[in-house]
C-alpha cells in the first residue's frame, strides 16, 4: 500500500474510473487546463483529453443541470464544484431534477451522477466560502451523501460513488487534501456506500464524527485515554443513507454519545443522529446525547474567531467529560 495524500487518493479514484468506463466524464470549473483549483484533477486532461475532462464557464446551475440531463440518457458525469458553496446556485438542478427524476417518472431513469468538491471550512476564507452543507443535501430522498475522512476512504468511496446508479453528493474537505494515509493501489478497491467505520474502539463513550472532525475526535480520544476514558470513534462515512445501526450498537455499549460536526447546529446532521440515538437507544443512555457543532454564526474571517467557530480537540474532550459526568 502506498502512502498518499487525500488529494492524490481522490485523483487516483478519478483516474481509475475514467479509465474503467468511457461513459464517465468529469466537468467543472478549472478541472482541466488549470489542473484543478485544489489539484485534485491534476493530469487528467492530459490522460483523457478534452472530451472527457471539461472546463466549464462559471455557470453552476447550467453545468449541474447539463450533468443531470446527460445522466438521464446513460452517461456517468462527475460534476466538480470548486467548492460546495457554489453548489448553492445549482441546488435547483440537484434537488428538483437529480433527486426526483427517478421517482416522478415512476422509475424510468437512473441518474448516475456524482457532484463533488470541498465542503465546510477552509482557512480564513470567510462567510461565503466556509459552509458545511451536508444537512441540506442529506435532507432529500433520492440523493446519497458521502463524506470521507481518510485518503483510503476517499478513494474507496469515490469509486463506489462513481459506479453507483444514483446521484451522490461527495463532500471533501479542503483542510484535509494534504492529509496522508495508506491507500490500497488495487483498481478494484472500493468501500460500499452506507457503511459506517469504527475508527477507534472504546468502551466509555461514543464520539460520532465525520469529515474533518474525525481526526479531531481521534486526537481527543487519545488524550482522554491518558485520563482513563476509553472512547469509541465512529465515522458514518455516508450521511445518507446513514448506517445508524453501527452508531446505535456502539452507544448501547458505551451508554454515552457525543456528535461532532463543523456545520451549524440547527437541523443539522448531528441533530438527526442525536434524535435517532434517542429513539433507538433511549434505554441505554446514561446522559443526554451531546452535540458539538460549529458556531451558529456566518463564518468570520479573523483567525481567532474562525478557530472559535469550529469544534477543537479541547471541546471534544470537554463534551466527552460532560456526558461521562467528569
Amino acid at each position: 500500500m502506498a502512502v498518499l495524500t487525500m488529494r492524490d487518493a481522490l485523483n487516483q479514484a478519478l483516474k481509475e474510473e475514467l479509465a474503467r468506463d468511457n461513459s464517465v466524464f468529469l466537468m467543472g470549473e478549472e478541472v482541466a487546463e488549470y489542473q484543478g483549483a485544489y489539484k485534485v484533477t491534476r493530469g487528467l486532461l492530459e490522460e483523457f483529453g478534452p472530451k472527457r475532462v471539461i472546463d466549464t464557464p462559471i455557470t453552476e446551475l447550467g453545468f449541474a443541470g447539463l450533468g443531470v440531463g446527460a445522466a438521464m440518457v446513460g452517461l456517468r458525469p462527475i460534476i466538480e464544484f470548486m467548492t460546495f458553496n457554489f453548489s448553492i446556485l445549482a441546488t435547483d438542478q440537484i434537488i428538483n431534477s437529480a433527486a426526483k427524476m427517478r421517482y416522478m417518472s415512476g422509475g424510468q431513469f437512473k441518474i448516475p451522477i456524482v457532484f463533488r468538491g470541498p465542503n465546510g471550512s477552509a482557512y480564513q476564507v470567510s462567510s461565503q466560502h466556509s459552509q458545511a452543507l451536508e444537512s441540506w443535501y442529506a435532507y432529500f430522498p433520492g440523493l446519497k451523501v458521502v463524506m470521507p475522512s481518510t485518503p483510503a476512504d476517499a478513494k474507496g468511496l469515490l469509486k463506489s460513488a462513481i459506479r453507483d446508479d444514483d446521484p451522490v453528493i461527495f463532500l471533501e474537505q479542503e483542510r484535509m487534501y494534504g492529509m496522508k494515509g495508506e491507500v490500497p493501489d488495487d483498481e478494484d478497491f472500493t468501500i460500499p456506500l452506507g457503511v459506517a467505520d469504527v475508527k477507534r474502539e472504546g468502551t466509555d463513550a461514543t464520539i460520532i464524527a465525520r469529515s474533518v472532525m474525525v481526526p479531531t475526535a481521534l486526537q481527543a480520544a487519545e488524550q482522554l485515554e491518558k485520563e482513563g476514558i476509553s472512547c469509541e470513534v465512529i465515522d458514518p462515512r455516508t450521511i445518507r443513507p446513514l448506517d445508524i445501526n453501527t452508531i446505535v450498537e456502539s452507544v448501547k455499549k458505551t451508554n454515552r454519545a457525543v456528535v461532532c460536526e463543523e456545520s451549524h447546529p440547527f437541523a443539522s446532521v448531528g441533530a438527526e443522529i442525536s434524535a435517532e440515538i434517542t429513539e433507538r437507544a433511549f434505554d441505554y443512555l446514561d446522559a443526554p446525547v451531546k452535540r458539538l457543532s460549529g458556531a451558529d454564526v456566518p463564518m468570520p474571517y479573523a483567525k481567532n474567531l474562525e478557530q472559535m467557530a469550529i469544534p477543537d480537540v479541547a471541546a471534544v474532550v470537554a463534551a466527552v467529560k460532560e456526558v461521562s459526568y467528569l
Binding site: N255, F282, D283, Y284, L285, D286, A287, Y325
Partner: protein, 441 residues
C-alpha cells in the same frame, strides 16, 4: 375499621404539605366531612376534612412538620380498636423516638440501638436532596428521582432500589457509575446483611490534609421551594430567619474535654472546639442544613466549612475551619487557636474568613444563656451557643444538678424547614450529650 389519614393533594402543583394546625386532638371524635387539620400547601392554607367516622386515635406528624403527598399523618378508628398494625405500617421513625429509646435503655447498650434508629431516619446515602422533611429519602426536591435510562435498567437488573442511592450527576441525577458503585458496595459487604445499620460518621481526612473551600453540588430549586422562598422573603425580608432552641446536657461533653486535656495537656481543647466538631459532623448528617439558597438552585456542600465568630477590637470576624467534619479534634483545636490569634492581629487572608457553609457564634464566655444570631448569607444557618451552666433537672425521678447549655439555630427558611432544622439539632444534641460517637469510626 381503622383508617390511615394521608397527606391529601390540595392544589394542582402541591408535592408536599406542612401541617399548620390540628383541629382535633388525639381521642376526639371525628365524623366524615368534619375539618380535621389545616394544611399549608405551596399555594395556601387549606382545611382538610376527615374521610371517615370514628375517633382520632393517633397523630403521626406534628404541627409545623411536612409530609409528602400520600404519607400517613394520622389514624382514625374506633375508640377501642387495635391500631398497632396500622401504626407499624405508618411508622416514620423520628430522632425524637431514638432519643427516648436512648433514655430508656441502659447506657452501655444504648449506642447501637440509637445508631440503628438514626440511620433509618437519616440514611447517610439518602436521596439526592431529601425534601424539607426528608421522610422519603427517595424524593428529590421536585418530588421525582432523576436517573439516567441506563442506570434505571442496571438497577432493575441488579435488583437495586435506586431510590436509596444518592446520584452524582447534575442535579443529583443517578447515573451509571452510581449503580456500579452500589453493586460493588453490595458485593464488598455481604456480611453486613442483617446487621443493624450503623450511624456513619464522615471519615477523618488524612492527617495534615489541606482543605480548600468545600466542593458542592447545585440542585434545581423545586417549584414549592421557590414558592416558599418567595413568600417568606416578601413577609420577612431578604433572608427569612426562624429560630430553634434546644437544651443540651453537657455533663459528658465536659467530662470528655477534661479527660482529653488530662491525656494531652498541650491540647487545650475547649468546649467550643468540641461544639465545632459535633456541629460539622451533624451537618454532614443533615445536608439540607449545610446548604445555601442560590435563587435558582440550592447548593449542597460536601464538607462542613465552619465559620467561627471571633470578637476582635474592630468587630466581628468569622475565620473558617475548612472541612471540620474531616478533621480531628486536635487539629480543630490547634487551628481555631491559631486562626483566632491571627484574627485579632488582623492577619487573616480573605479566603480564611470568606465562604463558610455554616457558622457558630458562642457568647457563653459572656454569660449569655441564650441568644439568636443573624445568618451570614449565603450560608443557610448559624448556631448561637449560650453559656454552660448548672441547672436542676429531673432525671430518673430524682432532681439532680446537671451542666446544661442552650443553643439556638437560626435557619434560612428558603432552604431549611422547621422539621429539618429540628432534626439537625437533635443529632447535634445526641452527639454532644454522648461525644463517644465521635470516636466510633
Amino acid at each position: 375499621m381503622a383508617n390511615q389519614v394521608v397527606m391529601p393533594k390540595l392544589s394542582p402543583t402541591m408535592e408536599e404539605g406542612q401541617l399548620a394546625r390540628w383541629l382535633k386532638k388525639e381521642g376526639d371524635k371525628v365524623s366524615m366531612g368534619e375539618p380535621l387539620a389545616e394544611i399549608d400547601t405551596d399555594k395556601a392554607t387549606m382545611e382538610m376534612q376527615a374521610l371517615a367516622n370514628g375517633v382520632l386515635r393517633k397523630i403521626l406528624i406534628q404541627e409545623g412538620e411536612s409530609a409528602p403527598l400520600g404519607q400517613p399523618i394520622a389514624i382514625i378508628g374506633e375508640a377501642d380498636e387495635d391500631i398497632s398494625e396500622l401504626l407499624k405500617t405508618a411508622a416514620t421513625p423520628k430522632p425524637a423516638k431514638a432519643e427516648s429509646a436512648n433514655e430508656k435503655l441502659p447506657e452501655s447498650d444504648a449506642a447501637p440501638e440509637v445508631e440503628a434508629k438514626l440511620s433509618e431516619a437519616e440514611p447517610a446515602k439518602a436521596a439526592a436532596a431529601p425534601s424539607g422533611d426528608g421522610h422519603q429519602p427517595s424524593a428529590a426536591p421536585a418530588g421525582r428521582v432523576l436517573i439516567s435510562p441506563i442506570a434505571t435498567r442496571m438497577a432493575s437488573d441488579a435488583g437495586i432500589d435506586f431510590k436509596t442511592i444518592q446520584g452524582s450527576g447534575p442535579g443529583g441525577r443517578i447515573v451509571k457509575r452510581d449503580i456500579e458503585t452500589a453493586i460493588s458496595d453490595r458485593e464488598k459487604a455481604p456480611a453486613a446483611k442483617g446487621a443493624a445499620p450503623r450511624l456513619t460518621l464522615p471519615r477523618r481526612g488524612e492527617k495534615g490534609g489541606v482543605h480548600g473551600p468545600s466542593a458542592y453540588r447545585d440542585e434545581p430549586v423545586s417549584e414549592m421551594r421557590r414558592t416558599i422562598a418567595r413568600r417568606l422573603v416578601t413577609s420577612l425580608g431578604p433572608v427569612p430567619h426562624f429560630f430553634l432552641t434546644i437544651e443540651i446536657d453537657m455533663e459528658r461533653a465536659a467530662d470528655t474535654r477534661r479527660s482529653l486535656n488530662e491525656l494531652y495537656p498541650d491540647l487545650k481543647l475547649s468546649i467550643n472546639d468540641l461544639i465545632i466538631k459535633v456541629a460539622a459532623v451533624s451537618l454532614i448528617q443533615h445536608p439540607q442544613v449545610n446548604a445555601s439558597f442560590q435563587d435558582k438552585t440550592i447548593r449542597f456542600y460536601e464538607h462542613a466549612d465552619i465559620g467561627v465568630a471571633v470578637a476582635t477590637e474592630n468587630g466581628l470576624i468569622t475565620p473558617i475551619v475548612r472541612a471540620a467534619d474531616a478533621k480531628s479534634l486536635t487539629d480543630i483545636a490547634a487551628e481555631v487557636r491559631e486562626l483566632a490569634e491571627r484574627a485579632r492581629a488582623r492577619k487573616l487572608k480573605p479566603e480564611e474568613y470568606l465562604g463558610a457553609t455554616c457558622s457558630i457564634s458562642n457568647l457563653g464566655m459572656f454569660g449569655i444563656e441564650e441568644f439568636t444570631a443573624v445568618i451570614n448569607p449565603p450560608e443557610g444557618a448559624i448556631l448561637a451557643v449560650g453559656a454552660m451552666s448548672p441547672k436542676a433537672v429531673v432525671k430518673d425521678g430524682q432532681v439532680t444538678v446537671r451542666q446544661t447549655m442552650r443553643v439556638t439555630l437560626s435557619c434560612d427558611h428558603r432552604v431549611i424547614d422547621g422539621a429539618t432544622g429540628a432534626k439537625f439539632l437533635q443529632t447535634f444534641k445526641q452527639i454532644l450529650e454522648n461525644p463517644l460517637y465521635l470516636f466510633l469510626d
